[in-house]
Symmetry: C2
């Protein structure tokens, strides 16, 4: 998809990098050739990104030369999903007395760090998003990066002016960054939860909601209650953590979040992966059995599932019937139109087909609506309305 | 899957076959090597089957040597699906004044023909099912094959003693064969509908329900009414045909049939194809838009969709939680236990893992319950209940 090139990789650079990674030179060369290791572009050309998981290095990991060596910003570790709370939590965290529960927010994953004296917002895939970077600079207390240049913030960009995952449910007016982890550069080691909270508080960062520590013994039941309450507010779910951050976390989501995913998926039914859709549906099955739901609760769940699927599907099919084209709408809010231009170039470079509307002045800023065309669902639906068979 | 071998293919046979098919010898050799063309086994070894669609030859087509040449029994032609009735019917059958509508029954597709003086029941894939063959011999007026050795019956095996697709909805006590097409050997050419009906009546064959000929102009509306009525009885849908059988047919199904497919699919959620599930869901979306359903009808459809998915999913997840193993149950009814033995061998040969229970005497016959274990869904569900992540 992306157009970044690995044109001119200096053999000496390969040697230095191979030594640092403790890989064979041939292997590093191969990673470049396959684009598994690729350069960012423009002024971020000095940043390499892993486009594939290699050995123990997560996809989206970023690295760059510094002081004669390299510095690494590790990618987001994949968080495994509990399909049932009991016995999964007990099994996964066996040996711990208590586990920590934090809210899993539905936003856009971003790492924020200082690299070569520049604040960067790094996406899950290891790109530098110019819009997110600008917003991070405006929103965050940058003194943190002077005091802790070796630490990286792992968080979610949340709010209606998030062009990737716009959400109104968190009471955020434009955009905020909610931090869930602080990790060390190079090792990727996360700070224990208490230490992370102290630092985030000290610098005035927003952090994801913390539901306290819960005894392992009663965790499944307590988390069940938390999930039901989060669901009522259409919130996504929780991440369950070892307070010391030694064992890897687990995630678990609300029925409303599953259904919200399905609503989005079926709107563009010919684009979204079949596995994505199926997994959301199967989660509903396990949750209703684990929670031993009665007839009324079960009927409600069936209705919600059916509606989540059919309502947006119907809307898309109808729109195309009425001659409209299907698109996904989002927006950005910028102080300087240059940021919007850079963001437009960035999306184009990533191969994303987006139309930027004319900027509207809002106070001191500009609001710009972005439309991403969903060509595949659009064309398929149109063909069917013109009498094509499936 | 199947274990039939192409061990000893005589080069002279290849030459004869290549001449007959008008293919290069190398191509025929290649088809055998790839098992795209394969022999049946045992006493049906003389029958070759196409395991893949090759040029204009349908998958499942069968051929054998006869009188110094070959005779072909063409496979089931794939019938394209209308996702919306209007304008698809008008477009597909443009130029016709009337189209013919027949019921699409939910059974097991089978071709019945005489080959080398033997009556055979040939499956969609081109295998000779010993059980279906025996049932066909018992149920059908075999004089037809003496009078018309060049014709093939294309039909559905229907009823509760059908071990492939057992259904109670047609009021069939054990098994019946409902014929929908008569086609010529070699050319695969179908008889016009009137001629087909005359012959089927003359020999007392059961035939799929005929809903008359309908003017093309009003067909979408009329078929909409037929589909709603069929749906109320849980019947599958219709096949829309050119009365002369020159243009290819179209199919269209009821919401109840889509939901019934989903009920079955989600029972074994880890086995059934994702595309299979998704296509059933998307059909519901097009039908509700085409029929312009009001709030109450739409809510009913949502509820039915949700229940179809979640009820069997819940049942499977619960069963495994309670320590039961998931299986699919069906049954056969035989006069002679030899038929059951042959059928068991046949399924084994096809790589299907089925357990045959002890035969129960019922009148002059034996009823045998067959259980097919659904290992993948079973194992996956069990692992989750043991605390594995997804």
């Amino acid at each position: 998809m992306s157009k970044e090139g690995n044109e001119e990789i200096d053999p000496e650079f390969i040697t230095r990098l191979a030594n640092f990674l403790e890989f064979d030179k041939e292997r590093v060369q191969h990673l470049f050739e396959k684009n598994y290791l690729a350069r960012n572009w423009g002024k971020y050309k000095y940043l390499l990104r892993f486009d594939k998981e290699i050995s123990l290095i997560e996809r989206g990991t970023v690295l760059y030369e510094k002081d004669g060596s390299f510095e690494i910003i590790m990618g987001f570790p994949k968080i495994r999903r509990a399909m049932v709370l009991d016995p999964t939590i007990k099994k996964h965290f066996s040996g711990l007395e208590k586990i920590a529960v934090e809210e899993k927010m539905n936003g856009y994953n971003v790492r924020i760090a200082i690299a070569k004296d520049e604040i960067l917002a790094i996406t899950r895939s290891g790109y530098i998003c110019p819009y997110t970077t600008q917003k991070a600079k405006e929103k965050l207390n940058l003194k943190f990066f002077d005091d802790f240049p070796e630490l990286v913030l792992y968080g979610e960009m949340i709010g209606p002016d998030n062009p990737y995952v716009p959400k109104d449910i968190y009471g955020v007016e434009s955009i905020e960054f909610y931090i869930f982890d602080i990790r060390e550069k190079n090792s990727g080691k996360p700070l224990p939860i208490k230490r992370k909270q102290e630092i985030l508080e000290k610098y005035g960062f927003l952090q994801v909601r913390f539901f306290n520590e819960i005894p392992l013994e009663t965790a499944a039941e307590e988390i069940g209650k938390i999930i039901r309450k989060l669901g009522e507010k259409m919130h996504e779910g929780v991440v369950i953590k070892d307070p010391e951050m030694v064992l890897s976390p687990l995630k678990y989501t609300s029925s409303q979040s599953n259904c919200s995913d399905l609503r989005h998926a079926f709107q563009f039914y010919n684009e979204t992966g079949r596995d994505y859709m199926l997994s959301r549906i199967v989660r509903e099955g396990f949750q209703t059995v684990e929670w031993n739901e009665d007839k009324i609760e079960f009927e409600k769940r069936c209705m919600q599932l059916g509606e989540s699927i059919l309502e947006t599907l119907r809307k898309s099919i109808r729109s195309v019937k009425n001659g409209q084209r299907l698109y996904e709408e989002s927006r950005i809010r910028v102080k300087d139109l240059k940021t919007a231009d850079e963001f437009e170039d960035y999306l184009e470079r990533l191969g994303i087909d987006a139309i930027f509307e004319e900027p509207q002045s809002v106070g001191e800023e500009y609001l710009i609506i972005i439309r991403k065309i969903n060509k595949s669902t659009n064309d398929k639906t149109q063909a069917i309305w013109q009498g094509e068979t499936w």
